[in-house]
């Protein structure tokens, strides 16, 4: 095995491999920054271009695209409050407030290093621990997925500490939106009103773009009178600021573990990894009240986790041929086009290609660092632009981005409706994250529960027994209870000792 690795390592440093990684990374950054061009789409569009290349070079380019686009979604999240890719959703919660405080450069620098570390560590897991970790993926059945989704839903309660009722309202709205479309087990159509555009359900990225970018624009235009909205503060070199990251070793470690594990569980995805890590950082922080107002921990926790999710998701993809996420499903197609059959034999049959690919992923996760820092240096000035320029730019990007997802004009209408919803929610102080989480997890929770019940032939008591006797299910049940308990506790404390208006910050 060591010999195979060495062959792969040497192969990686051929000039054509390096060029491929670099090209992939540059393409990935563009795809990631532009809203609507998702990682999945970027990889899918790149696959035919790699037809003529040797497998190792083609895969290296795809890997570069993958890693860089997962990272660079955070840039538009921070600067414009539009998630460049769906995994950057949690990054907005603190990233954009940081930018509004004039710390866009710092936020991007931290997101860059966080993504790089997250990607590289998860890649190490892929390199050394793939087979045992892949077995973990197989232990996830319908019941376990349902519980993962439930755990995610409990996070809504903790996001909305200030006003539980509003948080739950937002969550329920999200769960409702997730019900639109064709039901996963029966094929029945719900709330589609015979409109074909709704048959496949509501696209999460469409909702996120509308929900976050349009209210921002409306606010911007309302404050038109103010001369300059934001003054970028430059404090010290960005390179030095990047190393601030390592002051948060505890959060980083926890986010890494969360990212890799969520990655391995097939199908959960990067946006969930980001949210769970964010929540975890907030819960364990000494100053949870700073979250949501532009704290660096908020940015680096989710950015570490969403890139760590990538290496995790590749583990079952490569070793079992079971895609860990939508991107990996496309990636699987890419592997097969290059004549590699993912599965148990992959590592022994084509060692130079597959190890070459894994090592090239390390390079990908390093190459975007200088490019990211350049963006932080110059791109962060973007936010200083007057609203008359910035606002139409954001709207244009939002519309084009939404249309680009499926080439459907109905999606752009939906995005605008969601923008209005987001504006109203924002005005009423209802956290929009609840809606996003509800939407991401609602259909997952529902269809997995239905599947789990079908698998035990409708005998729910057997399902309850499984929830206690299956080790992973039991752990997840306990996590759900802990998360709920924590939320109830904070609510209780908040009720008992109401913060006096004068003492608030």
């Amino acid at each position: 095995m060591l010999e195979n690795m060495l062959t792969g390592l040497i192969y990686t440093f051929r000039w054509d491999m390096l060029l491929a990684v670099f090209t992939g990374v540059v393409g990935g950054i563009v795809v990631g920054v532009l809203p609507g061009l998702s990682t999945t789409m970027g990889v899918a569009l790149l696959i035919p271009i790699t037809f003529g290349m040797t497998p190792a070079v083609g895969l290296a380019m795809l890997g570069g695209m993958y890693a860089a686009s997962v990272y660079s979604g955070s840039i538009s999240a921070i600067l414009l409050n539009i998630p460049g890719t769906s995994s950057a959703c949690a990054t907005m919660i603190d990233g954009h407030p940081m930018a509004l405080k004039g710390e866009a450069g710092r936020a991007i620098a931290l997101a860059t290093i966080a993504s790089s570390v997250g990607g590289n560590v998860s890649n190490l897991c892929l390199l050394f621990m793939a087979p045992p970790l892949a077995l973990l993926a197989l232990k996830f059945g319908a019941l376990e997925y349902f519980l993962v989704a439930m755990f995610g839903i409990t996070i809504i309660a903790s996001i909305s500490e200030k006003d539980l009722v509003k948080g739950l309202m937002s969550g329920i709205l999200g769960l409702f939106v997730s019900m639109i479309g064709t039901h996963q087990q029966t094929g029945l159509q719900r709330f589609t009103f015979g409109i074909p555009a709704l048959y496949d359900g509501i696209n999460i990225v469409v909702v996120m773009i509308g929900l976050y970018s349009l209210p921002e624009v409306i606010d911007m235009l309302q404050k038109q009178g103010a001369e300059k909205r934001v003054k970028v503060r430059v404090q010290g070199g960005l390179f030095r600021q990047m190393f601030e990251y390592f002051n948060y070793k505890y959060i980083v470690f926890r986010s890494l573990v969360i990212g890799v594990i969520i990655g391995i569980a097939p199908g959960a995805g990067g946006s969930l990894a980001g949210f769970v890590a964010y929540y975890d950082a907030k819960r364990t922080s000494k100053h949870p009240e700073r979250f949501g107002k532009g704290t660096p921990e908020g940015v680096l926790s989710c950015e570490t986790a969403n890139n760590a999710e990538m290496g995790g998701a590749l583990i079952p993809t490569l070793t079992l041929g079971v895609p860990g996420s939508a991107v990996c499903a496309v990636f699987l197609g890419g592997l097969m086009i290059h004549g590699l059959r993912p599965g148990p034999q992959l590592f022994t049959q084509n060692p130079e290609v597959i190890y070459g690919f894994i090592f090239s992923m390390f390079l990908s996760n390093l190459f975007f660092v200088p490019l990211g820092l350049l963006t932080a240096r110059y791109g962060s000035r973007l936010i200083e632009l007057p609203a008359v320029i910035l606002a139409p730019t954001i709207v244009t990007l939002a519309v084009i981005g939404t249309f680009a997802i499926n080439g459907s004009i109905e999606d752009t209408w939906l995005m605008m409706i969601m923008g209005l919803v987001g504006y109203i929610l924002n005005r009423c102080g209802v956290p929009r994250e609840g809606l996003v989480l509800g939407l991401v997890l609602g259909s997952m929770a529902e269809s997995e529960l239905a599947r789990a019940i079908l698998l035990v032939h409708g005998d729910v008591s057997q399902l309850l027994i499984q929830a206690v006797t299956h080790p992973i299910a039991l752990i997840l049940v306990i996590l759900c209870l802990l998360s709920l308990g924590h939320a109830i506790k904070t609510q209780y404390i908040a009720r008992k000792a109401p913060i006096l208006p004068g003492l608030e910050e």
Binding site: T40, F51, Q185, D200, L320, I337, G343
Partner: protein
């Protein structure tokens, strides 16, 4: 002077216009021969699924390899939505000038017609050019499953109606349809559990959450080859070229189960494309299906090929449409 010049110019213009009109008329007069000039610009191939699934990958492969046989590039355009309905509606409505092709997937398209109301196209709105792919269903079990043969499985299902958990893409998909047809023709009852695609069925089997699975063979090839899964029967009338060891359903059970769930994918154009253009397309795809480079690449990728010419393809779809009518109600839970 100015006046004069202007006059001369309009005179000249008139001549030019007259010549152009004559030219156009001539072009129309000789148009039967002009099919030899078709195609003169790139052709769009509408894939009604997102850039990820099997249809898209295969379509891009085809687009790449058919270019030398057609003399023009094919550009893949994804129009996903409503499980294919959006894309196929777009093909049906497209200008029948031969520059818009569609990638069809059957019985998916037949299921949409059969299960939904107000679908804005008819099966007769298309001209069927060539079938490219055939992905039959296969019954697979985990390696240590007590079912050693298909008959073991059938016997168990007969003794315990509705107890056998069988997973597949669904609901109301090709393989769900195939499972229902198997139940009816073998006289058994199974518990069909829907997954979002054939892909997720594989880990559920490896993790032993299911007793059996009914994926498309192309999704299961790597695991069958690696002995991670055992194939009990292939629901087809011909052996699968890459894995000839899998017994056919007829040999395994004695019953000739109709392979209606086998996913067929091929090229269509909207009704109204002129016969000579259709001929050019038929010729190009016939050549493609004999192209050794294309065949090698498809085998490498595990894309199972099956060529049917225009006549065979439309006949196969027509008979499937008739047969489907017997089962469509069984798919409505």
């Amino acid at each position: 002077m100015m006046e004069n010049k202007k006059k001369r110019n309009t005179g000249f213009l008139r001549w030019v216009i007259a010549l152009m009109v004559i030219g156009t008329v001539m072009a129309f007069l000789v148009s039967p021969a002009s099919a030899q000039n078709y195609p003169t610009k790139p052709i769009v191939l509408i894939v009604p699924f997102s850039p990820r699934g099997g249809s898209d990958i295969a379509a891009r492969l085809i687009a790449h390899f058919v270019q030398p046989h057609l003399g023009q590039a094919i550009v893949v355009e994804n129009k996903p939505g409503a499980a294919g309905q959006v894309g196929w509606s777009a093909v049906a409505k497209a200008q029948p000038d031969g520059y818009t092709l569609g990638y069809v997937s059957s019985p998916s398209i037949l299921l949409i017609k059969g299960l939904r109301e107000n679908v804005p196209f008819q099966m007769s709105d298309f001209i069927y050019i060539a079938n490219i792919q055939l992905d039959p269903a296969v019954i697979v079990v985990p390696p240590d499953s007590p079912f050693k043969t298909m008959n073991d499985l059938v016997e168990y299902a007969k003794k315990n109606p509705g107890k056998l958990n069988i997973g597949g893409d669904g609901p109301q998909s090709n393989y769900h349809l195939q499972a229902v047809v198997i139940e009816k023709q073998l006289g058994i009852k199974m518990n069909f559990v829907s997954y979002s695609g054939s892909g997720p069925v594989i880990p559920a089997l490896l993790g032993k959450q299911l007793d059996a699975g009914i994926p498309g063979i192309s999704s299961a090839v790597p695991q069958i080859e690696a002995k991670g899964l055992r194939a009990l029967a292939l629901i087809d009338t011909e052996k699968f070229a890459l894995l000839p060891g899998i017994p056919l359903i007829k040999a395994a059970t004695g019953v000739d189960v109709s392979p209606i769930g086998a996913s067929m994918r091929g090229i269509i154009v909207p009704k109204g494309v002129s016969a000579d253009k259709v001929k050019v397309l038929e010729g190009a795809f016939a050549k493609l299906m004999k192209d050794p480079k294309f065949i090698a690449k498809a085998n490498e990728m595990g894309v199972p090929l099956k060529y049917m010419n225009a006549k065979q393809f439309s006949e196969a779809l027509l008979s499937d449409e008739k047969e489907l009518a017997n089962y469509i109600n069984l798919l409505k839970k």
